[in-house]
């Protein structure tokens, strides 16, 4: 792998994964208080994909995501306080409390929305790519998706269209081996490789280590450069692992769908700790700088939680708002 990245950027990547980890683990710690009253899918263990990918994207690039979108939203630059406020159901939430954890949006940084129907945003991100291509800008549209969503026909339909029109779409598949409690073996044939499948559809693709933020960053950089220069869609498949239960704050390696050992093996490849150890070992980062980074992350996260908790709930009449956008339309 060519070294595409300087030390300042590497520290920034470390900050990115540590920050997401801190957010997710704080949610996990506080979830049982019963104040975050919506289905919440944590991405602990998968932070490197979000951070490595988004580090290659510009603010003006687009991203869409799934039910498990906290990391993508944050890495793309989404407002942390408004995300937490959304999970708390507050009026200051990024979706004014209408959406919750599964429906995050921050258009100011190109995060165009996450939704909770598996596969639901794959064509949406593809359509963003169509619009970019019609407008002739050099934006990239990034679609985050899970291994489960590649079983939906819409995945295949979307890629087919992206290829025909050579759209500037970056498909990022986080293969964490599970869809809820269903292992990939019961859903896809044993020899299936998602990135190979994409190729056979006509989408150039690669696979990478989703727990290694530098690998993610390097492969995505290349893909983004190709897409930006008109090379058409690319799919990257990153292998990674979700640490906590599918939905909710707990661990569930004891309930029988996967083994504690499997989890522990993946924990060895912790995208945060391994990278942190590397940067410290390489003396890219001093002990003090690391502590300072951690302190500032915790402070930011605590502030954001305080903001969320202290924000007002929407007033009941907000129930009737936002069904339609008031028409502006083209002038008559």
């Amino acid at each position: 792998m060519t070294l595409l990245i300087n030390n300042i950027e590497r520290v920034r990547l470390l900050h990115g994964v540590k920050r997401i980890r801190c957010v997710e683990e704080t949610i996990a710690a506080r979830y049982s208080e019963g104040k975050m009253r919506c289905p919440t899918h944590l991405c602990t263990g998968q932070e490197a994909v979000a951070v490595g990918v988004c580090a290659t994207l510009r603010n003006t690039d687009f991203a869409v995501s799934t039910h498990r979108s906290h990391g993508h939203y944050l890495a793309k630059g989404g407002d942390l306080s408004r995300m937490l406020a959304e999970i708390y159901g507050k009026s200051t939430g990024c979706s004014s409390g209408h959406g919750g954890s599964m429906h995050l949006i921050d258009e100011s940084v190109g995060f165009m929305g996450s939704t909770s129907i598996v596969g639901g945003t794959i064509p949406v991100g593809t359509g963003l790519g169509l619009s970019v291509s019609l407008k002739g800008t050099d934006q990239v549209s990034c679609v985050f998706l899970g291994d489960g969503s590649t079983e939906e026909g819409v995945f295949y339909e979307s890629l087919n269209f992206a290829v025909i029109k050579q759209l500037p779409v970056l498909y990022i598949c986080e293969n964490n081996l599970y869809s809820v409690y269903s292992p990939i073996q019961v859903r896809q044939p044993a020899n299936r490789k998602i990135y190979e499948l994409a190729r056979s559809l006509g989408v150039p693709s690669e696979t990478g280590d989703g727990n290694d933020v530098l690998d993610v960053y390097a492969k995505t950089s290349r893909a983004v450069a190709s897409i930006r220069s008109g090379g058409g869609p690319v799919l990257l498949e990153f292998s990674t692992y979700r640490w906590r239960e599918h939905c909710g704050p707990n661990f569930d390696n004891d309930i029988g769908y996967r083994s504690e050992q499997e989890y522990l093996d993946w924990k060895q490849k912790d995208p945060v700790e391994v990278f942190e150890a590397k940067l410290c070992g390489d003396e890219v980062l001093s002990k003090e700088a690391l502590s300072e980074m951690e302190r500032s992350i915790v402070a930011e996260v605590n502030d954001a939680f305080a903001f969320a908790e202290n924000s007002p709930f929407p007033s009941p009449d907000q129930l009737g708002k936002y069904l339609y956008k008031e028409d502006e339309g083209a002038s008559l």
Partner: protein
């Protein structure tokens, strides 16, 4: 000077006006640039606006709906066309889970200005999978606007309003209307979504109708008038939102309601009209409200069966007669027809 176009030409003109006015308007769907041009409605578009803005697509209804949604989030206004509503059943997820809810679920941060043109099939043995009228599905979904023009002018005016509406609009055009003619205003003519039109005024009965049933209702009204019965004929034009004030005002005047629909009767738009009127104007009704819609069966293919399946003008006359407790003559109306029951007119030669 009167300028007469067919309904199909009016649709074509609306597309043309919209695309000239706003570069962000595009149109796609199976066949939009093929020789038949969606029954002529997309004539000339690819030539004028180019293959980037007017294009065919893979047979992939669900993804292509999502594509329209995504494009809309970046300001592209798609008009997507399907030659039959039935094909669009594949896209309910994107339409209902995404398009309809996008504005609401993101607290108004963005919205999805897309227009979905769906053609409602009828006749020439279209049968069970090529003639469904599922307007009540769409109208049941909060966040979707649903229009069903009956006249050439409304076909144009509602399509322009749909395209420039900032929300998803389902535009349902009936195959039997494409060749009807009417005066159509030039230029950027818009008909507001959610406003009904009173096509005839009377005292005796309120007929609430839309889409092709309005044509049957107009025949009925004409023949009723000859026999001294006068009706309010309200053409809803939009089935979501529904123009309740216009409906209520008329029922207050006549005290009698017949609701027409092109769909299976149970849970039809006609049901909702009757339910709302019964709840809100119970004491103004002089007699029980009446529904004229299709029986609760899929569409049979054989002409021998479809003949009884579709209610027509004489059934409306008969319902009026029953409501008013009088006898009316439907023979003249029936005898005035020149084409077989399973085609809209002589121009229709199958097989589409």
């Amino acid at each position: 000077m009167k300028r007469v176009l067919t309904y199909g030409q009016a649709i074509n003109e609306a597309l043309c006006v919209a695309m000239r006015q706003d570069r962000n308007v595009i149109t796609f769907g199976l066949g939009v640039d093929d020789p038949k041009r969606i029954f002529g409605t997309t004539e000339g578009l690819v030539e004028e606006f180019g293959p980037e803005r007017v294009f065919d697509m893979p047979t992939a209804e669900n993804a292509m709906t999502g594509v329209a949604i995504g494009a809309a989030l970046n300001g592209t206004r798609s008009v997507m066309t399907h030659q039959r509503l039935d094909f669009f059943l594949l896209a309910m997820d994107q339409l209902v889970n995404n398009a309809a809810k996008w504005s609401y679920m993101f607290g108004g941060k963005s919205s999805v200005p897309i227009t979905i043109r769906l053609i409602l099939g009828r006749g020439w043995g279209q049968g069970p999978q090529h003639s469904q009228n599922l307007q009540s599905w769409f109208a049941h979904i909060p966040g979707l606007k649903v229009v069903m023009p009956s006249t050439a002018a409304d076909a144009k005016g509602l399509l322009l309003s749909a395209i420039f509406d900032d929300n998803p609009v389902v535009y349902l055009e009936h195959r039997w209307l494409h060749n009807i003619e009417g005066e159509v205003p030039e230029g950027d003519y818009r008909v507001p979504i959610g406003e009904a039109q009173v096509l005839s005024s009377g005292q005796d009965v309120t007929l609430v109708s839309f889409s092709y049933m309005t044509i049957e209702a107009l025949h009925a009204v004409e023949h009723l008038e000859k026999q001294g019965v006068s009706c309010d004929l309200i053409d809803l034009r939009s089935v979501n939102p529904i123009d309740w004030p216009t409906v209520f005002e008329s029922v207050k005047k006549t005290g009698r309601l017949i609701a027409l629909d092109t769909a299976s009767q149970t849970l039809s738009i006609a049901s909702e009209i009757i339910a709302r009127v019964s709840m809100e104007l119970f004491h103004e009704l002089k007699s029980p409200p009446v529904r004229i819609a299709l029986p609760d069966y899929p569409t049979p293919t054989s002409p021998a069966l479809s003949e009884k399946y579709y209610p027509r003008a004489e059934d409306i006359m008969q319902a009026v007669a029953d409501l008013l407790n009088m006898t009316l003559d439907t023979d003249e109306l029936i005898q005035s027809r020149t084409s077989p029951h399973d085609v809209p007119g002589e121009w229709f030669k199958g097989p589409f």
